[in-house]
């Protein structure tokens, strides 16, 4: 036993430089990631700034019960699910289609130019993208002028809640689709080319090849991306909604994250309740991620975790 301890001591002494290299990161991790986790106690307390986190009185799950009886948070939960579900339906498939089209397209030079264009918006913030698209889509903006010039009716993109919802999905695709396609393109590039040659010999058309070879071979990648997307079901895109919403539609796109922001920074804050909403969101996200992982594993044999 003593011998073992001494050996551990020697091994640790040998690794002293490793610990030195790791030290700044671990200190940062403890302060900026584990520090806030201590603050999660607020969710179970009636927090008062005067008493601080530790001395504020415990109130059990009262803050969590409030989530389900406060009209604002109930609406936010509904909207969050609705928008997340919409994103999986109307955003998730597009990068796959884009990746297939780019790989099927001929002309290497044009391909490269297009890819630069497609991936560029990913590197802009939603502040910037929101500003550009809002100006372009406003009632007197570029696109409505074009419609009017062609003798068509103007479309109210920004202040009609149904149109705004469609705009959310469309603009997220506008910004992120090209970037998300990269992972699928890499998967397609890894497919054994002899599979296609064999299919050609058998007389398969290009569409059949896409369906039975390309899509079949990138199934694993599709599954992993889907699991990750579903794992964010409670985060319905704060950055985008926060930067594109306006007073007319803000109620119909109030998601949990914008709700927490609004009640904390635009009203008299109740930190305990806000923390509870945040914790509720994180726990559901994590649970759904594990569940999605399990379901996808049962269906297709692919999995991401475990």
């Amino acid at each position: 036993m003593d011998n073992r301890k001494r050996k551990l001591g020697i091994r640790m002494w040998r690794a002293r430089y490793i610990y030195l290299l790791l030290l700044p990161y671990v200190v940062w991790l403890l302060i900026f990631h584990y520090g806030p986790m201590y603050g999660l106690l607020m969710a179970f307390k009636k927090y008062s700034a005067r008493l601080g986190v530790w001395r504020s009185p415990w109130i059990g799950f009262a803050n969590f019960k409030r989530i389900f009886i406060t009209p604002g948070s109930v609406t936010a939960i509904k909207n969050t699910f609705l928008i997340s579900f919409g994103r999986i339906l109307f955003q998730f498939p597009f990068p796959i289609m884009l990746a297939i089209m780019i790989t099927e397209m001929r002309g290497t030079k044009l391909k490269r130019v297009y890819q630069t264009i497609f991936t560029f918006p990913h590197f802009l913030s939603w502040v910037v993208v929101g500003a550009i698209l809002t100006s372009f889509l406003s009632s007197n903006g570029g696109i409505n002028t074009m419609l009017a010039n062609m003798g068509m009716d103007k479309i109210n993109f920004l202040s009609d809640s149904r149109n705004f919802l469609i705009l959310l999905f469309a603009s997220a695709n506008w910004k992120g689709m090209g970037w998300s396609a990269i992972i699928y393109m890499a998967a397609i590039a890894g497919i054994d080319p002899t599979l296609y040659d064999a299919a050609k010999v058998d007389g398969a058309s290009r569409l059949q090849q896409i369906r039975h070879i390309t899509l079949a071979c990138i199934r694993a990648t599709i599954a992993i991306v889907l699991i990750l997307d579903v794992g964010h079901i409670m985060s319905a895109g704060f950055d985008q909604i926060f930067n594109m919403r306006n007073p007319v539609v803000s109620n119909s796109v109030q998601i949990l994250d914008t709700y927490v922001y609004d009640i904390t920074f635009l009203a008299t804050p109740d930190y305990g309740f806000s923390t509870a909403v945040g914790l509720f969101k994180a726990v559901i996200n994590f649970a759904v991620l594990l569940l999605a992982n399990k379901i996808v594993h049962i269906i297709s044999g692919e999995r991401m975790i475990g």
């Binding site: 430089y17 903006g141 994180a282």
Partner: protein, 291 residues
């Protein structure tokens, strides 16, 4: 001999048409913003969808530079945050990634300590209170520290270090080099491409960060570009709803000025992106390998 050329079939044509439409959908709103920023407000009112500026002017950019000193201050602050943040963030994560690529007592628990933060965290309010309690409100240090590095970056870089053949550092060890010399003289130079890629991502991340700056930086002298842009746009749209009383004020933040601010904020990214695109793409692919 005749070279046989394959004819274009339906798939080729539909791919080309779809991709061209999508490319135009991305370019047109951008181009529209550029045109608006380079024309007078009255020209914009006459034709909001001009393909070239109706009445060319630099006024909008001049206004940003002269009348509102916010842009210059925000630029300087953003560069400061991005440079310090990227240098210190990369340093700390390279060191950690290298350490995790080695064997040492306590590696597993420390690794799980890091991994957990990928799936779970304190969230908005506890983090905000932490920043407040540390006295970091209105300090650039808050912005730098909050997004210094990520678990994802460290894991991918750790895999990079692990891919280096073992005999290389061992040979240096026999020659009398210690752990730190090996790290600085052998391991880091070998990982230069990966370090460059992650530095790019980090610097763009700082350039685009707006959420924590919005919460933490109230002092206008501390503002960063994204916040400058946000407040410029927000005050313009507020004035629209206030109508006549504030009309004069509204005129100072015309759409031309707003779009000029947009262009000013994204200009550096726009200039370098076409040349660095392949490094960004490499970055996402290197992360594609399983952990």
């Amino acid at each position: 001999m005749k070279i046989k050329r394959k004819r274009y079939d339906g798939v080729d044509i539909s791919c080309f048409v779809c991709l061209t439409i999508f490319a135009l959908l991305i370019i047109v709103p951008f181009w529209n913003a550029v045109v608006i920023s380079l024309e007078t407000y009255s020209a914009y009112i006459r034709n909001p969808m001009a393909w070239v500026p109706g009445e060319f002017t630099w006024d909008n950019f001049e206004y940003l530079l002269k009348q509102s000193n916010g842009l210059i201050v925000a630029y300087a602050n953003t560069i400061k945050v991005a440079v310090i943040g990227t240098l210190s963030g990369m340093l700390i994560s390279i060191m950690a990634a290298y350490a995790f690529s080695q064997e040492f007592p306590g590696k597993k628990p420390l690794f799980y300590l890091m991994l957990l933060t990928m799936f779970f965290g304190g969230g908005l309010i506890p983090t905000y209170l932490l920043v407040k309690n540390l006295g970091l409100i209105d300090k650039h240090a808050a912005i730098i520290l909050l997004s210094l590095t990520s678990t994802y970056n460290i894991i991918v870089m750790k895999n990079g270090f692990e891919s280096i053949p073992r005999d290389l550092p061992e040979a240096a060890m026999i020659d009398g080099a210690n752990e730190l010399t090996i790290f600085a003289r052998i391991m880091i130079p070998l990982q230069k491409p990966m370090i460059a890629t992650f530095s790019l991502f980090t610097i763009v991340g700082y350039w685009n960060s707006w959420y924590w700056p919005m919460l933490v930086l109230n002092d206008s002298r501390k503002t960063v570009l994204q916040i400058f842009l946000r407040s410029l746009i927000a005050s313009a749209s507020q004035n629209v709803s206030m109508e006549s009383a504030a009309m004069e004020e509204f005129q100072t933040y015309t759409l031309g000025i707003q779009m000029a601010a947009v262009i000013a904020v994204i200009l550096p990214i726009m200039m370098v992106y076409p040349f660095l695109q392949k490094y960004f793409v490499k970055g996402v692919l290197v992360g594609g390998v399983k952990m």
